[in-house]
Structures are given as C-alpha cells and as structure tokens.
Amino acid sequence: MASSAYCRRLEAVLFAGLLLAATPAARGSEKSEKVAAGDSPAQSVPDKQKQIATEASNMPFVYTKWEQFTTKDGLPNDHIFAVKVFGDYVWVGTEDGLARLNKKTREIKCWREEDGLPWRVVGAIDVHPKTDEVWLGLFGGGLARFSGGRFDHWHQLNSGLVNDVVYGVAIEHDNVWAATTAGASRYNTVTGEWSIFTEKNAPMEEIWNYGVCYADGLVYLGVWGSGVLEYNVERGTWKDYLDPDGEMEIDLYRDDGIMHVITTGVSYVDQTLWAASYFGVGRYDGRHWRCFFAHESGLPSDFTNAVKGRSAHEAWFATDKGLGVLADFGTDTWVTYTSDHDAHKGKAVVQRGEKIIAEFETMLNLPHNYVLWVEFDGDDAWIGTSKGLGHAIGECYFPRLRNEKQIAQAIRDAIIFRDATLHRDATVREPVANAEMQNSE
C-alpha cells in the first residue's frame, strides 16, 4: 500500500508539471509543450491556480513508476503472449515456456517442454478461482492444466478440443472455454463433458476464434471474421455483433456497430463490452457502440492485439505502437504510453480525443512498444510485450479523473514542490523526481 506522503509527493510532481505546462504558449497550441524545467515561465503560482484546477480536474492518473522483466531476470523467453495474476503469482505465457513470478520474493520459476509443458508456446492463461488450477491455451499444442506440479494435456486427438491452435482461455463456473482457430470448445471440469461451437450451432460466419472472456453470466468470443459473439450461459443462447456496413475496406459510420468483423480481443466488465481489432477498438454499453481510431484518440495504433477493460469507464489497449489507455470514457481522456528504450526513458501523453493535453517523460515504461497483452492487478497492471514483461505500479491510482479534494491538496503540494525545485535550479523531469521519491521511500 502506498503511503499518503508518497502519493502527495507524486501528485505534486505531476501538478508542478502542469504548472509549467499551463503557459499561454502551451494553451494556444494544439499540442502542449513538453513538461520540463527548461520551459519554465516562472509565472505567479496563485494567478494560475484556477486554470490549473481546471486542467487538473481533467487529468487522469498517469503511471510513472514501472519495472521490466526479461530473460535476464529469469523469464524463459521475452516474447510475452499472455499474463494472468492470481494471488501472489503472476503467470506469464511466452513463446518458449511458462513462467511464474512471485510478487513477494521476486522469484521466477519456469517450465519448458523438458519440464513437462506439453507445448512451448503459451498463448493464453486463466486460473480457476475454485481450484487454483492454471489453464493454459497452447498455441498449436491444445489445452493444458497445471495442477499439483503436473501438466495434463488435451488436444484434438484425445478430447473434444476442436483445434490445437488455442488463442484464448476463460473460466466460466466449472467450465473452461477455449477459443481456437476452428471454433470454440467448452470443457466441463466436473463432468468431463465437451461442447463444440462452430458455424453449425452458433452464429459464426467464420469460425476463427481469437479471444474469449467471461463475466456476469455472459461468455464473449472475439471471432476473426465474425465480430463478437455473446453466449448467455443460463439460456444457452447466442447473440452476434457484426459491422452493419458489411464491408471489409470501409467503416461507413463510426458508431453504427462494432468497428470491424475481424476482432482480436474482448473484455467484459461492469456490463460493458470492450472489443479490439486490427482496425480500431470499440465499447458497447448494451445499447450503444462507440468506436475509437488512432487518428482521433489516444489509441497509439489501430492495430490492436488485445484489450482489457478495468471498468465501464477505463480500458487498456495493447497495440503495435504502444499502450493506449482510455482512462475516462465519459470525457474521452486517454493516456498513451510509449518507451524509448535506447534513451532508457518513457513517455506518457494525456489526450482528450485527438487533442494532447500534456506530455510527461517517465522512467522507462514499456519493455517494448509492440504490446501483446494487458492484465490488471489491483491498482497495478502487467503488460506483455514482444520484448519483455512490464509492470505498471499504480501507487496512488485513482479511477477516471481527479476529484476536487485531490486537486486542492495537489495544488498546495505542487506549489511547494515547484518552488523548491526551481530554487534548486533543478528539473522536474519525471524520471528524476520518481527516482528521488523511490529513494526516499
């Protein structure tokens, strides 16, 4: 749990940045100036309080504290396809093995084929909350259960798994759902019964399943070529979400339905469906679709590998050009994270729609900008990339935008922090400030 003092100081750093960013020049341009000490206009802080409060009240939480894990830290491979947090463990599926990171001890334990893992490529992970069993979707190797130190293996030739190329796994009650490249399979772990869903018994225009999730009695399948399918567990009925224009090469109207039929990921939370595709992303609240594209939002790229919804208001999108976080749906506020590994630093850009509000330099954030997976862990998040695992540390995290009490306190702290910083003739660059704070903890 983060200390209150730490959180206040962190906020002070961010607000001091806002103080500097809230210059006439910055406000007058579409893109704000970078937050850095060299840009300081040294204007009267009290005169700016109202404006800062306005700016600040629009500000989402920005993750400035990160850490990275790679093969150097003990991961079996840097190409991370899946991450699942359960209890003290972070389970990591890679292109060459399974890893388990103990959050307390930082120990990483690995399993490869020689250790009994049925197939090297672990593309999906879920944990059964009742049994703690770890279920693995093996990319080309079927489905595996890791329990009691042993791997059990199901594949096309020994079970009802419809195909061995498994892209997604989700636990629903006693059932394990597997999204495969040739339909979806459901395995009842109590009765041992298998069900197969393809074009013959589900509204799959195509059967190339990509993602699966379960919440609140509904299973969602992201299907390449068939949009999103919703399965009502109680009723056993299906509902499909397709792009109404029916054309691959255009999106006729933005919010007339799902953005494209080639979907890559689904996430359902707070009765809100989030969907990803290689053509943008979308949100469905049960009545309306709202779609987002890179040219008009903080989505780094339309090519989105995965999505994870945190609430009805917040979702994280794994793209090929960084991590896009829709921090507050209601105000269309985004935070986009990218890293410059060569310079060993990162950047967080806050946007409202297509307008950039602020840019923050951070410590190195994403291990790589080619992002493949997102998993939440309380206020933290774990990010799977094609070159390592990232950990976004959410100390002082708050959902959506700041409230008035937080703003008032933050401004007071920011004034103190800013004055002290300027007097020291030091920068307020985030990596430095963060390093200081980490040390002071």
Binding site: D78, F81, R120, V121, G123, F139, G140, G141, Q156, V162, N163, D164, V165, T180, T181, A182, G183, E206, I207, W208, Y210, W224, G225, D245, E247, M248, E249, I250, D251, L252, Y253, R254, H260, I262, Y278, F279, G280, F293, H295, E296, F303, D320, K321, S339, D340, H341, D342, H368, N369, Y370, S386, K387
Partner: protein, 509 residues
C-alpha cells in the same frame, strides 16, 4: 556497407553470369538479369538526376532498404509506406456505398512491422535453408471444403511449381551467402478445418522455416495467416483468390495472384457494360470459395443497376443440379455465372444444356481448365471465365518455365504451378537479399519498390501486399482456352478516380 549489403552485391554480380547458364531464371531471382529482361523502358534509361541506370537505381534502392532495416530490437526503421489512391483499383461505380463518404477507409496505406524481429541474428549453423509449403496435396475428408476433399488437383501442381523453383535455386548455388541448399518442407492442409493452423505452427517452431508458401482454400488460408502473424513468419499465397484473404491487415502476408475481386470486376464489366445483360443468375458452390467468390459479381451487378436475379447454391460434388437450374430457368435469366470447381461447373453446364437452357455460361478461373472441357465437351464452347493471368502472352520466361515443367512432370503447368513458381522465387529472392531473418525477409518483399517480374507477368504489390497485376478473360474456342485482356475485347470500365484517398478528408475529419 554492412556484411549483408556486400554479400547481396556479390550475389547480384554473379547472377549476371549464372542467369544465362540456366534454362529458366526468373528475372528477379538474379537482379542484373531482371533489369535487363524486364525493364520495359530500356535498361539504360537514366533513372534519376545522378545519372544512374535503372538497374543501378534499383540496386541502390535495395541497398538503402537493407541499410534501413539493419536496426536493433527497439528501433522501427523509417521505411516508405505504399499508398494506394483507390482500394483494389475499384471503379467509382462499383465501390460500396459510393454516395456516402465513409467514416474510415482501410487498406490504402501499408502497415509497418514494429516488433523486435529484425534484431534476431542469423543462426550460426543451418544444414539447409528451409522454406515451408502448405497446400491440398492429399485426399481426405475436409470440413473446410465441404466434405470430400477436391482440391488436390490444384494443390499438387502448386507443389510442383514450388519444387521447381527450389531446384532452380539450388542449381544456382542455393543460399549463395553461405553455400547452403534450400529445402522445401511440405505439409498438407486438406485435413479437418484448422489443420493448416497446426501445420504452420509446426513449420514455424519445429521445422524453423524462414517463410511459407501456400494454401488455396480460403478457410485454410485465413487460419494460416493468423498463425503467421503471431509466429511472425512471411507467408506467400499463390493460389487463394478469396478477396478477403488480404483484407485482414496482416503485415506478414503476400499474394502474387490476381483475386476474385479483380476477376469479378472484369466479368461484371463484360456482362453489363459490354454485353448489355440485365438479368443474370448465379450458381455457386455451397462452401467458402463459392460464397465469397461471387461477392464482387453480386455487389457489382447491384451497384451497376442490375441486381442478380437469383443466386442458387449447391453441394460440392452433387450429381443432380436440376432443382437449382429449374429455379434459374423459371427466373428468365439471360446469363448464368458459376462459381465453384471445374468438375461441378462442367456437370452443371451439361445439365443446363440438357434442360434446354441455352444461356451464356460464365465462370470463375477454376473452370478454365482441361478438366472442364473434358467433362463439358462441346458444351464448353463459348464459356467465358475470369483468369488471373495470360498463359498465352508469349512471355519468354513463361515459355521456358513451361518447357522445363513439361519435361519434369510430363504435363502442362497449370495456373497454380506457375504462380507457385513465381511466389517461391519471390521468397527465394527475399531470402537471398535479406538473409536468414524472417522480419527482414518480410521487409524486402514488402518494401521493394519495383514490381516483381515472374513467369505469370508483372506482380505489382498493393499497399496491402496484394497482386494488382492485370487479369484476363478465358474463352473456350475449339476445345481450347484463349485468353483476352480488357483491351483485346474493348471492355468498358467505370472511372477509377485518381484521388488521394489516404490523405483526403473522410467523414471522420
């Protein structure tokens, strides 16, 4: 100049001599020969202000590309991305929802690969340079293709074309950088729906191939390319004409054969703008090939003001088509378009004629085959099919390929053989140029500026890496197929608006 660049230049120089020592050398397999043979404007025409010849300019382009992609795991090279003014060269009047400016348009700008793959070093030791092949080469029961498999007659020639290209490359010294022979790793994709996925995974991770060529059936193709994306391996398609194959935004996928969209546009123009039909019916296979193949015929007909009167589907391999044909006859259609395999298409034509239906018969490229003529006999006369290339162009490269193929296999090469030969040679060229790195192999294929010149003609790749080369119509005349271009028959075409659609305003601007 890095090692790779120096090696490439050496290969290119040696290629000039080797090219003439072999019966068949695709122009682009040996760069200097390519320029000499394929530069339609003359190989010595100055290409730029610096006075470079076209050959030298092309080589310089490749060198610049290789330099650009020589990056670390965290860098993304700044490469010129292809931009198309119109998706698939679609005429304005056959574009979807042409009266409405869409909110967003896709496939007009080339996608980048932004992952770390370019930094993976070439392995120290390999016995062979493996390239994967996946296609329908063994008979089986396939859910994907609608029951008993039926595409081996297409897949086996495709395999032979690929094998021939590998053999040619090995005769020229294999992977010349290290004197290592190429090896074709062959897989069958004709199993249960999804078998192609397993096979590609195996080739990518077990066999460690550097690129893969293959797939004909649209369902298997989509499965395969999803795996190629995740495993990050270049995939060259030479036999699937499904338009949606390329409409998936995958940076690792290429196609070197004209698709059903292009052939559909040409057929629609011929049916309505040239022949003036107003009532056309469709007879198609009840599988993915039939369902997606006729989409452009159906949509194009409607958009030109002549909606398809009736579309009937049949089970692949059925013996009795009378129900569907009666319905078409009762609909008073003036012409019938068939989309399915040659065998079914020929039987349908025979039953049509036996029922007294004398409507002109049009079909997809699969029907432009000897098998069709053999079954349909004299009924085949006058049948017109779309075709992705012109085998009777007299192209010297193709004639040489034809001779070698006939000598090797005792039969004429089919379209699947010729395109597989081209596709495999494109992969070999890319490997010779980029080295043993999948991402760089992808890069040189995707960012090569000059169209490839294969035995099937020029292969210009679009922004979504699809073949935008000319397509043709094949007509059965005297028991043989003759091929005609749009120009040969003076077939009108709608306006292809020369507008910049990448940067033009859309509804979202």
């Amino acid at each position: 100049m890095n090692t790779r660049l120096r090696t490439t230049c050496l290969i290119l120089s040696l290629g000039t001599c080797l090219a003439w020592a072999l019966t068949i050398v695709p122009a682009w397999a040996e760069e200097p020969a390519e320029q000499d043979q394929t530069t339609t404007n003359g190989s010595t025409i100055a290409a730029d202000d610096e006075g470079l010849t076209t050959d030298e300019a092309d080589r310089a382009d490749i060198e610049r590309l290789l330099e650009a992609i020589d990056v670390g795991p965290y860098q993304v090279p700044e490469l010129t991305l292809k931009k198309d003014h119109n998706y698939a060269q679609s005429a304005v009047d056959v574009e979807p929802f042409r009266h409405v400016t869409p909110y967003k348009e896709h496939f007009l700008e080339q996608l980048e690969y932004t992952g770390p793959g370019r930094s993976i070093p070439e392995p120290d030791h390999v016995d062979t340079v493996k390239i994967g092949f996946i296609g329908p080469i063994m008979g089986t029961v396939s859910v994907a293709t609608g029951g008993k498999s039926h595409e081996e007659s297409l897949g086996i020639p495709m395999l032979r074309g690929a094998q021939l290209a590998i053999e040619d490359a090995n005769e020229r010294g294999g992977y010349t950088d290290r004197d290592i022979p190429f090896e074709l790793v062959v897989s069958n994709d004709n199993g249960l729906w999804g078998a192609s996925g397993n096979e590609i995974v195996k080739m990518a991770y077990r066999d460690r191939v550097w690129a893969i060529l293959g797939t004909i059936d649209g369902a298997n193709s989509h499965i395969a390319i999803r795996v190629a994306l995740k495993a990050e391996i270049p995939m060259m398609n030479t036999g699937d004409t499904d338009p949606t194959f390329i409409e998936t935004n995958i940076q690792w996928v290429f196609r070197c054969i004209g698709d059903d969209r292009q052939m559909g546009y040409l057929l629609v123009d011929y049916l309505y703008r040239k022949r003036g039909f107003t009532r056309v019916g469709i007879m198609r296979a009840s599988n993915r090939y039939g369902r997606f193949g006729v989409r452009e015929i159906r949509d194009g007909s409607r958009r030109l003001g002549h909606p398809i009167i009736l579309e009937m589907a049949y089970q692949v391999g059925a013996e009795d088509y009378s129900l569907q044909l009666q319905r078409l006859r009762d609909s008073n259609v003036e012409a019938v378009v068939h989309w399915g395999d040659a065998e079914d298409g020929a039987h349908i034509l025979n039953q049509m004629r036996a029922m007294g239906m004398d409507q002109p018969y049009f079909a997809c490229d699969r029907c432009a085959s000897d098998e069709f003529i053999e079954i349909a006999g004299t009924n085949a006369e006058g049948v017109i099919c779309g075709y992705p290339w012109n085998p009777q162009s007299g192209d010297a490269d193709f004639e040489a390929f034809r001779a070698t193929y006939e000598q090797r296999y005792g039969i004429e090469p089919t379209t699947y053989a010729a395109h597989a030969y081209d596709g495999m040679n494109m992969l070999i060229w890319a490997i010779q140029t980029a080295g043993l790195n999948r991402a760089k192999i992808r890069d040189v294929l995707a960012h090569r500026e000059k169209p490839f010149k294969g035995v099937t003609g020029e292969i210009p790749l679009s922004a979504c890496l699809d073949d935008l080369g000319e397509v043709f119509l094949a007509r059965c005349e005297g028991g043989e197929w003759k091929y005609y271009s749009r120009e040969d028959w003076d077939i009108p075409q709608g306006t292809i608006a020369p507008r910049d659609r990448v940067s033009r305003k859309t509804a979202s601007d």
